[in-house]
Symmetry: C2
Subunit: 409 residues, 2 copies
Amino acid sequence: MTAPFDVAPLLAPNNPAPAAKWNGFPKYNFIGGHNDAKHVPIDALIEAATSVLKREGASLSTYGLNSGPQGYRPLREFLSKKLKGHAGIDCTADEILMISGSTQALDLINALLLSKGDTVLIEQETYGSAINRLVRMGVNVIGIPLDDEGLRIDVVKEKLAELKARGITAKYIYTIPTVQNPTGGIMGETRRAELLALAREHGTMIFEDECYSDLIWSGERPPSLYAMAKGEGVIHIGSFSKSIAPALRVGYIVAKWEILSRILGLKLDAGSGALEQMVLAEFCTKHFADHVPKLNKALHAKLQTLREALAEQFGTAAEFGDPPGGIYLWIKLPEVVDTQKLAQAALAAGVSINPGPEWSTNKPYARNRLRLCFANPEPETIKEGVAVLAEVCRREFGVPLRSANVEKA
Amino acid sequence: MTAPFDVAPLLAPNNPAPAAKWNGFPKYNFIGGHNDAKHVPIDALIEAATSVLKREGASLSTYGLNSGPQGYRPLREFLSKKLKGHAGIDCTADEILMISGSTQALDLINALLLSKGDTVLIEQETYGSAINRLVRMGVNVIGIPLDDEGLRIDVVKEKLAELKARGITAKYIYTIPTVQNPTGGIMGETRRAELLALAREHGTMIFEDECYSDLIWSGERPPSLYAMAKGEGVIHIGSFSKSIAPALRVGYIVAKWEILSRILGLKLDAGSGALEQMVLAEFCTKHFADHVPKLNKALHAKLQTLREALAEQFGTAAEFGDPPGGIYLWIKLPEVVDTQKLAQAALAAGVSINPGPEWSTNKPYARNRLRLCFANPEPETIKEGVAVLAEVCRREFGVPLRSANVEKA
């Protein structure tokens, strides 16, 4: 009975590669969406957990608490108010579905709309896991290049027209319009209106991902696509991962009931984690409005630390902007650099980075680009990590030239 | 821009029905896996949340805390010890994957092994959502009838032989051997050995679901299939939903690394809820061993209340056993009763029940059967609810005869 069992003949085809054993975080952690450890509001979360469990802890005995499958109602009520003020969205708690992180939204919305062979438009540079999911489903993914204002409308128009000529309706246009991942840009209101009009003309849904939209230094932003369309033809998603803490797996979907009820019919997980929703609702109702600006101040300072360190260590070899928010900097290195090779060599030196091709549908374009997340490492660690990264890059690719930091030495 | 958008042309085929709006729990709630509100250990959970957040709250700033994608390590360490004592499983924390409730295990294991057209064996009466998932995937589901000891081995043998003759290997045999859902039975050790031998002979995996195995009145149970096979050819899953609280969405998968690493490669959710895992680890390490017997005592008493109420209200019209654990009673009513119709009529009277056909692959067999969950309603509510159910059943189907409770009146 205990001889080894060979599972290989039983595996479904096209499984992804097995995961590697996890060996802890690297010393210089610039990947993923990790956030600032000093800004997890620990005391207020303890206070929130204590008060909400005292008051409503017994309701953990029922799936969905006393709120049903859409998730903890006080959290949906909070979101309804917050989204109105922040994103201009006029929706009730009944048009919000709490989910287990925004990744679940990708799976649910893909399940709702997509079959193998379908076509979608996405931003050419975008969330890597969104690209991977679509590729695994066998969906035809059209990447639309970005300019400073986001999706290039001329290319969207051209691609939709090409599809129409072939009798194809793109199932959705996926966009992160408000603090784009990885570029950090914010799409202007005029561009948003043009995008909505085009999508509407072609009968295509807009899938609006606003996971980063709380993290804007100025606090100012255009209305969301969902708001501008009054919810018609748009599904809007968001998350508490970036504004409170990523290990709390709590996100949400906003959609008209006609669509939300279908998504809910696909959500077969017996509800998302209730304790996290309860604690977040209790915390956010009191503290969200104060917490986010403090976090933004810290993140903005870290961004400037990263930009200064890059300028110091890479000189003109690294090109990057000054994003208005978020936790990422998108960087262009000289053509000679292959960031996938750089990522491997850097990891061996304790520096983790996201190479550009993981975050783009245009692999040649992204080959010499990379994404750094500046939210997690402390300022001194950012400086040291960038110095190590520059050293590795110089050793592997000959850039940046040594002079770039000799000047400062 | 705000004219209604018609999503219908964009929907993927074979979507399930949209969900209905949730209207609160019925007065007499006998469905689902809801548990005893009085036995949610609120004070100890508050204490656990406070201590773990004070000590490690800052780690919420990183996905996976400091434990990586397999989930909070102290909880896996607890499980490693608990499973050894309880189920006889000898595994390390590295062979455990924390997940968002055991429903996620169904999706992950199905994704790992199944394609449309594949064949699996399952218990004829089993978890409804497991059946539904398989049917939606287009999998060929063979239901194996149960006797008092569980899966009928003669039928398993016959079905596997038939499949072999057609060149088909069943991808897995899904079983809930230790407090079966819905029948409540516990498979004996000899039957377990026979099942393992048969599965091994045919190169079929065993998918062992132990979501209810903590809830056994005597505290005694046979070793798990995973333990008996030393993990070879078996995937084992469990949950804290039934032992602590269902709204906490925390389950786990135990498997050899060769399999677990592949499952982990399919888990694209950026981790399961960390706060729930942290609080559970802190709570369970101190209190699990004391908590579960207290809960079991309360559940056992509620079971007897339900059995007495059924005997009183239905007389000989309701046939049922005396399950050794769990939260369900599986009941046979006279042939004249259609429990799907009964469920609708009962709900209108405030009583929710799970009709048998939802929990069986053999719809005609299950037509006059139903499942009642006795864990959530208080004893008086159980009595009242059963009286209302009997009244509805009598009105709709003429049974039970009035004399059954007139005697007691």
